[in-house]
Symmetry: C2
Subunit: 473 residues, 2 copies
Amino acid sequence: MKKYEQVAQTVSEQIAQGIYKTGDRLPSIRHLSEQMGFSISTIQEAYMLLEQRGITEVRPKSGHFVTQQQKRLLDLPVMPEYSAKPKETSTWAKVFHVLYQGENADVLFLGRAVPNLSVGTLKPLQRSLATLTRKGELRGLSYDYIFGCDELRRQITRLAVDSGCNLSADEVIITSGCQEALASSLRAITSPGDTVIVDSPSFYGSLQAIEACGLKTLELPTHPERGISLTALELAFEQWPVKACLITPTFNNPLGYTMSDERKARLVGLLNRYDVPLIEDDIYGDLSYEMPRPRTVKSFDTEGRVILCSSFSKSLAPGLRVGWVAPGRYASSVMHMKYISSMSSATLPQLAVADFIARGGYDRHLKKMRGIYKRGRDYLLEWITRYFPEGTRVSHPEGGYLLWVELPKKVDSMQLTTRAMERGVGIAPGELFSSTGKFTHHIRLNYADCPNAKMERGVKMLGELVAEMDSSG
Amino acid sequence: MKKYEQVAQTVSEQIAQGIYKTGDRLPSIRHLSEQMGFSISTIQEAYMLLEQRGITEVRPKSGHFVTQQQKRLLDLPVMPEYSAKPKETSTWAKVFHVLYQGENADVLFLGRAVPNLSVGTLKPLQRSLATLTRKGELRGLSYDYIFGCDELRRQITRLAVDSGCNLSADEVIITSGCQEALASSLRAITSPGDTVIVDSPSFYGSLQAIEACGLKTLELPTHPERGISLTALELAFEQWPVKACLITPTFNNPLGYTMSDERKARLVGLLNRYDVPLIEDDIYGDLSYEMPRPRTVKSFDTEGRVILCSSFSKSLAPGLRVGWVAPGRYASSVMHMKYISSMSSATLPQLAVADFIARGGYDRHLKKMRGIYKRGRDYLLEWITRYFPEGTRVSHPEGGYLLWVELPKKVDSMQLTTRAMERGVGIAPGELFSSTGKFTHHIRLNYADCPNAKMERGVKMLGELVAEMDSSG
């Protein structure tokens, strides 16, 4: 932590402790400099940071004052109404149109779930890639074992210990990103016409896979902090012939919730009682702001009913396309579906990721990213509080880099998306995250990049657009 | 060409011209050395090569004699009987068991369709991979456009000109190998229960995809030189509700045939008349021994009914997993299916392949491989002629590196596969190439590696095993 950040933290704590109250004037810069033994410029920087974070405000010629503090800046989103009936749908056209039409480099992309790639801790990974090819070794060019490279499978079992899982390398299949893990798992345990339960809102890639496989989606009420309703889940198990559940229980995309250990264990109990497999998407699990990271549902599973899917696309880099699945009792069918989809996965990225993990690079990278993403969340929350109109609600994720924003009901987020893109800002409209047209006044924002002026301008512009749309006829 | 190879070629040509006839004694080594002006050791090497190729034989203390020459060493395989009825089948267990159980590095793998990776012309590709990462550029780590990297799509359209296709980059989608191209195409144009026509024998990866998608396979009679029977195809179109055809019309895997331009054009006519799409697997097309390479069926297609699938897995390196599809009028559904299977493909290998092609590396590599693979075919044909029992028949491919061998009827090729593996040689049994249990006395062999003593020993051992199984009780 830099000096000015220390100072800012000290002052923040004093405010939190009530030493300075809302509306109080803070000590002058010169006074604080003498008092704390830091230079004038350090104190100035600290005050700028406090101001930027919305903790203080400057009144010209008067000094710095404590602004009104909110324990939780904004309320959590509200759950919509659910008519619990499985539905066959298709929303591909919408997803494709919104996310993949324009590929303009100048756009500020706040809509995509892409990690921060510009940090130094990724450099050793690039060195691994270069070294593995420079040596002139042929292995990176060859097919590897269809289950994936052994080195990587072993490293993944080592990482899985942190989430409470005891896997053997034999139980892991490497895939081309998490999407292939999810799609192969879905295909392995369902047939067209079957019903699949999802949390709601839900990752559009999963919804697309469910739809394209000819399956019916059953979206269940999902709390923005506690996750999918287990009561609704049990009712659905009673009422419908559910063939599978597909849930992201940790640092959920897009809603941000993390199910508690107690609820994860209860979920496993329900799966066992009703003999329903769970596809657990844990792609954000390693990006916890606190250590140890939360346990997976899989870690409570003793009967092999949980298919754990993950990837290094969010924790490292998406272009590698290195994902994995631990399919439990469904291993043979999942391998079959992965095989017919793409045979084996690209070898070189697998070897490079294995090397990077083995050398400790992954741990160092995660440690760095935890701080960056947490800070990113705090900034984005502050900017939204500052620039978005009343009635805006937001999620409070404790990991990952995605924020779910509920806008005033009058705001059509599809329209907002179009108008924001015209102004050079890409966002993900809430409708992409439902198969049944829910979340029409919601958006998902990405805060992976280090907070900067361009982002703040983008968020401010969004807030103004929202306010305008909210107040218009 | 080395000196001794020149000498051997001169002598071969003299034999072909009738200057030396079957049973004739060739000039002594000393005499030929004086006559041609090459060293004794060069002539010795040339004579060894001629002997190795079965053109001459040594009689102790007498000298070198011309053996009986055969214009075509062995006959072509015979077509089995077909009961033209679509069938829903599953042969995954067999494929998995035979091809992917043992991963022993000491085995001589003659059963897998893997290219020769140990040639110098691949080094610039590895340099491209290393350079792209060394620069510290982030693009190789990022998601690229879901259709694939633009550079690569542009290079592919350039290559496609050689096969008679005028594609624009917009019409090309990059996939994770050809398998993903084939599977995404199948899924895009069929629904479970539909009937798909294939040539027979047929690549097991395609058959697996057809089976796993819940489709019915209709195997049609296929001539080992002319390809799938167009008469049978038309009859099938009349008789059954065929939803798609999946064929490898150029350097077919495993049968080796290449359809003539005239037959390719007629095939397109039939597709148009009956409104049936064709998935054309052209993965071996660039590995033609003669230039220009044969045209694709796609090059005759003016209505967008042909979905052209290919990959750099066979022409460059399979571990890259860089394939592509030009889906014609089915582009939107194929993209959808590719997206839900794995989103985009790994970025770095795409950029490296594009760079390699742009610098002329791909053309140089193909030129080199044409010679290596043609020579490999000739050696393998000679060895089989020499070591396999009477009644053996073989294909005569003019591209690629796969030979289809029909053994005497009594030989069970599954049993042969097991017994050969016990002796350290992997082969692909014919049954893998049929969904209906055909080709029980057939095998597929790979001749990608430069001919060497270990391969010859392996083929000899196989021939002895076959002879033993043929003559036993």
